[in-house]
């Protein structure tokens, strides 16, 4: 039986006190919560009432600890005159890149995210969720990483060619993307978000070399997290791919409260390298486990991860990335129930 509210449990995790059990964050995007209230996924991005209702209803129904909301990458293009669309039951899709050159970036004047219709929906939804859950739980906002956003701003082809040959474009585009994300994070914080989750697959070594990570990515990540700390947010970084190649570099970036690891890494190794005081999230396979496996298999994998990384009380059980939208509800329940069963402190 739980002895803490979701908020108390997460606060204990952050403040280094022992929670009653491992907190759980299923990292939900649009599709799953909207399905819980019988609405299409696209409704999430156009109706703040529905977005808030789906998020809160799912939280109450499944009994996890964090409510996560946020715009996805395509919506950032709207701020720069670009386009995006969303299939009724799919994920948002970006239009064409908005920058082709350094000059394009220098000429650009982004709008305030608070005035963007797409952002307004999510900002208002965060505010409504806060009103509805009060002191019971914390709200986490999603700010997709600098390189992820840069890829949408300049396109994949130009990003790869520039990384190989034209550092100036990368420097300018990365700074621009980082500024935009900082503005979004501030707007979410003003609305009541208390945690910011920042995933950046495109700066991971699944994409770029550790040398490029050090040269172009680390300083932007540091700038983002420092700005978010100034807003009073708890910061969570998800390097999102092949973390082994940059484990030490990631650890040296300032102002990161939480490290969220992808499924390629063994949480036991991360715990050993980062130490027992590091706050870790992880790392049940999204499509390979939550979506595809049986509840029994999910229970076993959840138990194994908690055994490896959860013993010191500084661990949140979560998928390795946002939970796939079509995950069977019984599979989400299996992860949550396993975390409650095997994650009760003291863990044996």
């Amino acid at each position: 039986m739980d002895q803490m509210t979701a908020r108390e449990r997460y606060k204990a995790f952050i403040e280094g006190r022992m929670p009653d059990r491992v907190p759980i964050d299923p990292m939900l995007e649009s599709i799953f919560p909207m399905a819980q209230i019988g609405k299409s996924a696209a409704t999430y991005y156009r109706d703040s009432d529905a977005c808030a209702e789906g998020s809160v209803e799912t939280w109450r129904r499944y009994g996890f600890d964090i409510i996560q909301l946020g715009c996805s990458l395509p919506q950032y293009l709207e701020l720069l005159g670009g386009t995006w669309s969303c299939p009724e039951d799919g994920y948002p899709m970006a239009g064409d890149p908005v920058f082709k050159s350094v000059e394009d970036i220098e000429r650009a004047e982004p709008k305030d995210v608070r005035k963007s219709p797409a952002f307004r929906v999510i900002i208002d939804a965060i505010s409504k969720v806060r009103d509805q859950v009060g002191d019971e739980a914390l709200v986490c906002c999603r700010c997709p990483g600098t390189f992820n956003l840069m890829r949408h701003l300049i396109g994949t082809d130009l990003m790869f060619r520039s990384l190989a040959q034209n550092g100036e474009l990368i420097e300018k585009a990365a700074d621009f993307a980082c500024d935009l994300l900082i503005d979004a994070g501030k707007a979410y914080a003003e609305a009541g978000a208390e945690i910011v989750w920042y995933p950046d697959a495109c700066s991971s070594t699944a994409f770029i070399s550790p040398e490029h990570y050090e040269k172009y990515a680390m300083s932007r990540h540091a700038r983002f997290f420092t700005a978010m700390k100034k807003e009073g947010l708890i910061t969570a970084y998800h390097p999102d791919g092949n973390e082994y190649g940059i484990l030490c570099q990631v650890k040296s970036i300032p102002n990161i409260d939480i490290y969220h690891m992808s499924q390629e890494v063994d949480m036991g190794i991360v715990r050993a390298v980062y130490g027992k005081n590091a706050r870790l999230y992880g790392n049940l396979g999204g499509h390979t486990c939550l979506l595809m496996k049986t509840p029994d298999e999910i229970e076993k994998e959840t138990r194994d991860i908690i055994k490896k990384a959860g013993a010191y009380g500084k661990f949140v059980m979560s998928p390795a990335i946002n939970m796939p939208g079509r995950t069977p509800p019984e599979n989400l329940r299996a992860m949550i129930e396993a975390a409650k069963k095997y994650g009760r402190y003291p863990i044996k």
């Binding site: 799919g90 994920y91 899709m93 060619r161 994409f207 770029i208 390979t288 595809m292 079509r326």
Partner: protein
């Protein structure tokens, strides 16, 4: 124009280095210079050796996607310059025709672009139909160009069923020659590929080249 062995080796080495460095402008310029004195088949051999080396370095995590992609672009640009010369000699080799795209409601293009570029660099004729492609777009293009392979990419778990749909529709068609299917993308596994009846699966671009080559040799065996 005759050149001595040392000069020839130096020029071919510079071409290879430009490919590895992912510099299309320099590599094309060097290939044009080389064509005045070196047989196009010899130049092509160097290109293929170097792009294979880039692939190995990528598999060993010494090179990463930007370097791989740029090297493949340089290789492709050089191949385009060599192509007419190889045709004249009657030694032009095309591996096969591949229709490549990302399935409907999915606009992820990184994997698709890299696979397309590396396939082209390895002698395949690639018809890239873009992202967010409905089944009919894949099938119509495959029939139009008499493709050997349809290669489908999906990065979203929500769009994976589109692959099954395309393969089912393809089975219901009767193209003049059989069309094989390949699948890839972050959530795609061999298990998924087997389940939907795809002929091939790869988790990376150089693997895709190997799979496509294997499928074609099996088809022509």
């Amino acid at each position: 124009m005759e050149i001595d062995r040392g000069t020839k080796d130096q020029l071919l080495g510079q071409i290879g280095d430009a490919i590895e460095a992912g510099n299309p402008e320099l590599s094309v310029s060097l290939v044009k210079t080389a064509l005045a004195s070196i047989a196009p088949t010899e130049i092509l051999d160097v290109l293929q050796i170097r792009i294979k080396k880039v692939g190995t370095l990528f598999e060993d995590h010494i090179l990463f996607l930007p370097e791989l992609y740029s090297a493949a672009l340089a290789m492709q640009a050089c191949s385009d310059v060599l192509q007419p010369e190889l045709v004249k000699l009657g030694t032009q080799k095309r591996q096969g025709k591949v229709v490549l795209g990302t399935v409907e409601n999915d606009i992820h293009d990184i994997g698709k672009n890299i696979v397309g570029t590396v396939l082209k660099a390895n002698g395949f004729e690639v018809f890239d139909i873009g992202v967010n492609c409905p089944a009919d777009k894949f099938l119509d293009k495959a029939v139009e160009v008499q493709a050997d392979i349809i290669a489908m990419s999906s990065l979203l778990t929500t769009t994976m069923p589109e692959i099954a749909d395309i393969i089912e529709k393809l089975k219901g068609m009767k193209p003049r020659k059989p069309i094989l299917t390949m699948v890839g993308g972050a959530p795609i596994t061999q298990e998924f590929a087997d389940r939907v009846g795809a002929d091939g699966f790869s988790s990376d671009a150089f693997g895709a080249v190997k799979v496509a080559s294997r499928l074609l040799s099996e088809k022509h065996a």
